[in-house]
């Protein structure tokens, strides 16, 4: 619940100001906690109290704070300080570095909600339609003269709320464990996905090539075709091996139907890349009838946007892969707006990269056979993530089986 600390100073006991302020807080629907109360020793010594005012919502809190100020309470939080950026792509010294938690900044006596919160960025105040807004801006997008928030005075970060017991993710806690009943986790994810779509919010899938190697490519494809995924983030590998499977029936040269390595199979993924490069891109290959199935085919035909971000070890890469990492981040940034559920399956690199962009309010599930991946994700600041340590094959089979409308 939103809260803010106020100070009361002066002859607040003799004047009954303290009682009055506390009564006002309760009368106007708030609660309080007295954190400090120093009573003046002599009659002319002023007293000092620090009171945390708590309300159910921002509007109520603001109303209470407005009234108690007229009776002598001062707000402990000051206003934000801003300084102009010294150059393009450079924050001013002492800039406030964001977290992925809901953040507000106080400017000209008003709390402004920081739009599109994302960790490790700065906050820029700007005038938009004659209204001041607070925007999260990554350092490379800063322009000289942008007004950047300095220090943490006037910045309020709302700690993650205690989980609603009705939240399907609630029972999981946020620790990494191999000891959880996995079916229950999958049920909870299904419920969360249904809730998200019911609320008109998006579901993001982030995947690695193990999905193909373990043979559950068709399951993910079916989940996409059933309309359950709204945006896909991956690298060159997932797309390449998906296309390899579509064109050759193999993943890294292993025949998926039999599990037997095929002769010259190790060349298949290179030939797949080459075919798509010749076609001009994945969409073009689908349109030309070259690519007829698979995850990427499902994305193109079902209009599910995807961002393929490159890495230094990529073969090819496919023409759709964004090799400039800053541009790839920006493309991902555009697509995380409105995401409510993020499923990160069998990829360390892309999970961490996506986690960096997500607000902490996004329900995030990280599935990996290696507990380290989940731990790494949380260590990088994505504390809201739930870890499910299991083979991605199990997870996707279960997910496809439990989601309504998925046809295999």
């Amino acid at each position: 619940m939103p809260s803010e600390t106020i100070y009361l100073d002066g002859h607040i006991i003799d004047s009954l100001t303290m009682s009055k302020v506390l009564d006002i807080i309760l009368r106007d629907g708030g609660e309080y906690e007295i954190h400090r109360f120093d009573v003046g020793r002599t009659r002319t010594d002023p007293s000092h109290a620090e009171i945390e005012v708590i309300a159910s919502d921002e509007e109520t809190l603001e109303q209470i704070l407005h009234v108690v100020q007229q009776h002598g309470a001062t707000r402990a939080t000051g206003e934000v300080t801003v300084e102009p950026a010294p150059a393009d792509g450079v924050f001013p010294e002492g800039f406030y570095a964001t977290t992925n938690l809901e953040t507000m900044v106080r400017y000209q006596n008003t709390w402004l909600s920081v739009d599109n919160i994302e960790m490790d960025c700065g906050i820029v105040l700007a005038l938009k339609h004659s209204r001041t807004t607070a925007q999260v801006v990554p350092v490379h997008r800063i322009r000289k003269g942008d007004l950047v928030v300095i220090g943490d005075t006037g910045v309020r970060v709302t700690p993650p709320e205690r989980r609603d017991p009705m939240d399907p993710f609630a029972f999981m806690g946020s620790e990494v464990s191999t000891e959880r009943p996995k079916e229950l986790v999958v049920s909870a994810v299904v419920e969360a996905m249904q809730e998200a779509h019911k609320a008109g919010q998006k579901i993001l899938f982030v995947g690695g090539p193990a999905i193909l190697h373990t043979g559950v490519g068709p399951h993910l494809e079916a989940v996409i075709r059933a309309g359950w995924i709204d945006v896909l983030f991956a690298g060159n590998a997932l797309a390449t091996h998906d296309i390899e499977r579509a064109l050759f029936g193999t993943s890294l040269g292993v025949e998926l139907a039999t599990g037997v390595p095929m002769a010259s199979g190790h060349e298949h993924h290179l030939r797949a890349i080459n075919t798509i490069r010749a076609a001009g891109g994945i969409r073009q290959a689908v349109e030309q009838g070259i690519l007829k199935s698979g995850i990427m085919h499902a994305c193109v035909t079902c209009n599910v946007p995807y961002v393929l971000a490159g890495s230094i070890r990529d073969d090819g890469p496919l023409p759709d892969v964004i090799t400039d990492t800053v541009k790839a981040q920006d493309a991902m940034r555009e697509h995380v707006r409105g995401v409510r559920v993020a499923l990160m399956v069998a990829t360390t690199l892309h999970s961490v990269a996506t986690g960096n962009l997500l607000p902490a309010s996004v329900r995030t599930l990280c599935v990996d056979s290696d507990a380290d991946t989940v731990i790494k994700l949380m260590d990088r600041g994505t504390h809201q993530a739930f870890g499910l340590v299991t083979d991605c094959e199990f997870f996707l089979r279960e997910l496809a089986a439990r989601l309504p409308g998925v046809k295999l």
């Binding site: 100073d9 002066g10 002859h11 003799d14 004047s15 009954l16 100001t17 009682s19 009055k20 009659r43 002319t44 002023p46 007229q70 009776h71 002598g72």
Partner: protein, 289 residues
């Protein structure tokens, strides 16, 4: 001239004030003769541009008040000339709050009266006062909202003065300040509904205050409660000079209550100043030495 005669009480020529209790006020006052008094705006419920004062009558009433204060109540009155741009400057009580050589200057809520600030500031400085101005954003309307009862300053807020000014007064003067909230626009200043008589006796009209303020006043002082009808006649807008009290005409109940306590009461007709929401006390600022 329309004023009732001074009403000394023959039975109590010496008021029953305890010997240990010093009279609260010094006898020095600042006043401003109404050479440019006028009703040119409406900033309180008493003011109406359709009910403007009779200026010649106002002049006579002011001079009668001056006479009573100086000749009957033995006050030493210093005058400040009125500036033509400041029609309410006659209400010198709002110029600031004086304690010793320190003048805590007013900062008015309404821009109409803010024009008075430089005139009073200049006067205080000429007189050698150490002038202090309220912190930015803090409104303070002088003795109109701050009255000493012995060493305790009772200070009104919310209508005209801000409570932040009380903290400023307490810190600058090293005194205890009791903040009391005013809740009725008709009694927009503390001195319209409250006045100290002795270090532990005050007169007040409870209806002008919120319940907390009433409790604060009753728990700190013995009280004389002023009726609604007399409070509307600005009975509390009284100048106390030792055992003499000067108040507006038409307040027989308070007059009697004061006389029973041994005070000599002088009533002065101040109808033309009531039209602007002021009476005896508003027209005089204490200059304690």
């Amino acid at each position: 001239m329309s004023h009732s005669s001074p009403t000394p009480n023959a039975q109590h020529l010496t008021p029953n004030i305890e010997p240990s209790e010093r009279p609260l006020r010094t006898r020095r006052l600042l006043m401003c003769a109404p050479t440019a008094y006028a009703l040119k705006y409406e900033i309180n419920p008493w003011m109406s541009l359709h009910n403007t004062p009779d200026l010649s009558l106002a002049d006579r009433q002011w001079h009668e008040l001056y006479r009573v204060l100086t000749q009957e109540a033995n006050a030493e009155v210093t005058l400040i000339p009125q500036f033509p741009d400041a029609p309410d400057m006659v209400f010198t009580a709002n110029a600031g709050l004086v304690r010793g050589q320190i003048a805590m200057l007013a900062h008015f809520r309404h821009p109409e009266r803010q024009v008075e600030e430089p005139h009073f500031k200049a006067w205080f400085e000429e007189q050698g006062y150490n002038v202090r101005v309220p912190p930015a954003g803090c409104k303070f309307e002088g003795e109109g909202d701050a009255l000493f009862a012995s060493d305790i300053l009772v200070a009104g807020y919310l209508k005209r003065s801000d409570i932040c000014a009380h903290r400023w007064l307490a810190q600058e003067l090293g005194i205890q300040v009791l903040s009391v909230e005013l809740i009725d626009d008709r009694w927009y200043h503390l001195d319209t509904c409250f006045f100290p008589l002795t270090p532990d006796t005050v007169a007040f009209h409870p209806g002008a205050f919120d319940p907390y303020a009433r409790d604060v006043i009753r728990s700190h002082f013995q009280t004389i409660e002023v009726t609604f009808e007399e409070a509307l006649r600005f009975a509390c807008n009284a100048v106390v000079l030792g055992d003499k009290v000067v108040l507006p005409a038409g307040c027989p109940q308070l007059t009697q209550a004061l006389q029973e306590r041994g005070y000599t009461v002088f009533s002065v007709e101040l109808s033309e100043f009531l039209k602007a929401g002021g009476a005896a006390k508003c027209l005089a600022l204490h200059l304690p030495q």
